[in-house]
Amino acid sequence: MPVKNMVTAIREGLRDEMRRDPSVMIFGEDVGPKGGVFGATESLHAEFGDWRVLDSPLSEACIVGVGVGAALYGMRFVAEIQFQDFILPAADQIISEAAKMRYRSNGAWHVPLVIRAPFGGGVHGALYHSQSFEAIFAHIPGLKVVVPSNPYDAKGLLISAIRDDDPVLFFEHKRGYRSLKGEVPDDLYTVPIGRANVVREGGDICILAYGMMVNTALKAAENLHAEGFECEVVDIRTLCPLDRETIVSSARKCGKVLVAQESNLAVSVASELAAIVAEECFEQLDAPVMRIGGPEIPAMPWAPPLEHFYMVDTGKLTAKLKELAAY
């Protein structure tokens, strides 16, 4: 199978599904001739033209609100928010409108809308080009929140998202766009939304993670292996709704659980994962559910020493795993 990086896998997913389904359209800032600020829509404007790959005005509420309308009409609409940091002007359209349309119409209407947004830090993006806002949206029933950790999943999950009849937020870690590479089939395939994935098996410590952090976890797991501890790594993949079964069964098996994420921990996805484990695996736990994440500061600063201070890297994760192993 050919090896591709993350952004290529995403671009292919978009392109192939657009070729298959003429109702798919893309809308966002700079998605047209420029091909997006990260190149995710490169060449698509040339292939599909102005209406199917349309540069939006600089307005996120417009991007999503127009998407909701077009999706109600019958389009399969892929909205791009240039940076997840700038999704907030669209929060009302996402949470009040897209998430509630099916419910409030008692099933009469639905919104097949995908909202793609690059997120995450470690790229010298400073406060407003580094944030991880998944917690805000993973709290909202009616939304699906998907975060791929590798190119194969990215393509397959994105195609599933486009075919899904409900709004899907599709968050892509921008540091992974070019750094993450893997085998990706040339043809169309899907990876199911709503299912976590055990990407490394082990019986001593269960690591729950998603996005880039899965890759950090795999590296840290290698370090632990060298010290004689086997970590199981669960890639959560869909943050809403959660695959409780996979999470709980891995946690029960290992008896020790570390939840790792990039964003700050307070009232976050890590909180929910820890709470589920605490509630459902009490009798199997050999140690407290531990969490590691960003500090409780408003966002990641620009200066390299400050940015580095923020990020959970392999070293910090390994240290935390050792603490848990030693418990």
Partner: protein, 334 residues
């Protein structure tokens, strides 16, 4: 020129049948609306928000749309509009009585949060002005699909202060989308008067900034409302882009059943509003011009009340939703 004369001059070219039908629609909405208040005051529903005083322009808009072909993104005052498009008094009674069969939302939303898949009336939530962007999106989808459909959307003047108003008009005008924006300007956003809301008296002024037509109509002028809506819908259908229609209407009630306008409006102001009741004005005009024969208006009202009574009986007999049904329709596949 008196207002009545102006009305007559505009009437030129309008079939009396159209005018008579418009009047019937208005009465139908009005008697239903009055009943809603009764239901609320009887303690049988915790909430009602009225369209009384806004009916003329809504009826004018609805009659210029092709129901089930064109699309509509309404707001909570658009009771008359939904009826013209084919929803029934029974549908809206099922909603206010919180019955499972309510086609708007299965009694999940408050009454006056309209929706009908059958009639291409998209579901509206409560967050004002969000529907304007949905209309723009539907307009985009229509344009991409190449049909001759039109999407109409309505909003109060207060809600045009939201950013979404600008964003929706800007985008629709940029791409000449087939959208009609109807602003129902009743001078108040709950208690906030126009002069605390915006710097000029006319929302239609904004159209200039987008290079599109901005038309002001008297919301009690049957013929004026009809022709303004017709022109805007035709223009959209011809692919020439959006129009802002601003109808100067009267809010004949407090903002909603939870509000008491006496707290913030003078008795004179309220009385002046009541004297501008669009239904009374339209009746006078139609009788004056002979479109309605003497006594015909009362007959129409009687007919509408009888229809309503039957709908009311049916709605009262309908079942409430089962508690656990609250869990349904979160996702399509879960």
């Amino acid at each position: 020129m008196t207002a009545a004369k102006a009305d007559q001059s505009r009437q030129a070219g309008l079939d009396p049948d159209i005018l008579r039908t418009m009047y019937r629609h208005m009465v139908r909405s009005r008697v239903l609306d009055e009943r809603m208040w009764v239901i609320n005051r009887q303690g049988r529903a915790s909430f009602w928000i009225s369209g009384m005083g806004h009916e003329t322009v809504q009826v004018a808009l609805g009659m210029n749309l092709r129901s089930g072909h064109d699309w509509v993104a309404p707001y909570y005052r658009d009771l008359a509009l939904t009826l013209v498009l084919g929803m029934t008094p029974r549908d809206q009674l099922l909603a206010i009585l919180a019955k499972a069969g309510d086609p708007n939302s299965g009694a999940r939303q408050m009454p006056a949060h309209f929706s009908s898949r059958e009639h291409n009336i998209i579901s509206t939530g409560s967050s004002v002005a969000t529907q304007l962007l949905h209309a723009a999106g539907i307009g985009l989808a229509i344009k991409v699909s190449g049909t001759d459909q039109v999407c109409a959307t309505c909003v109060g003047e207060g809600s045009t202060s939201e950013g979404s108003f600008h964003e929706a008009v800007n985008f629709s005008a940029t791409h000449k989308l087939p959208v009609v924006f109807l602003v129902e300007n009743n001078g108040y956003a709950i208690s906030v008067p126009l002069d605390k809301q915006m710097p000029t008296p006319d929302v239609a002024d904004r159209a200039k900034g987008y290079g599109i037509p901005g038309v002001i109509v008297d919301g009690g002028d049957l013929a004026g409302c009809f022709t303004a809506c017709r022109d805007a819908v035709d223009r959209a259908r011809r692919g020439e882009g959006p129009t802002i229609i601003e109808a100067k209407v009267q809010r004949l009630t407090s903002h909603s059943s939870d509000d008491d306008e006496k707290r913030y409006r003078s008795a004179d102001d309220i009385a002046a509003t009541r004297n501008q009741d669009c239904l009374t004005r339209c009746r006078a005009f139609l009788e004056e011009t002979g479109v309605l024969k003497p006594g015909e208006a009362d007959e129409i009202r009687g007919e509408m009340v009888r229809e309503l009574d039957i709908a009311m009986e049916e709605a009262e007999a309908a079942p409430s939703p089962a508690p656990e049904s609250a869990l349904l329709h979160v996702y399509g596949d879960v």
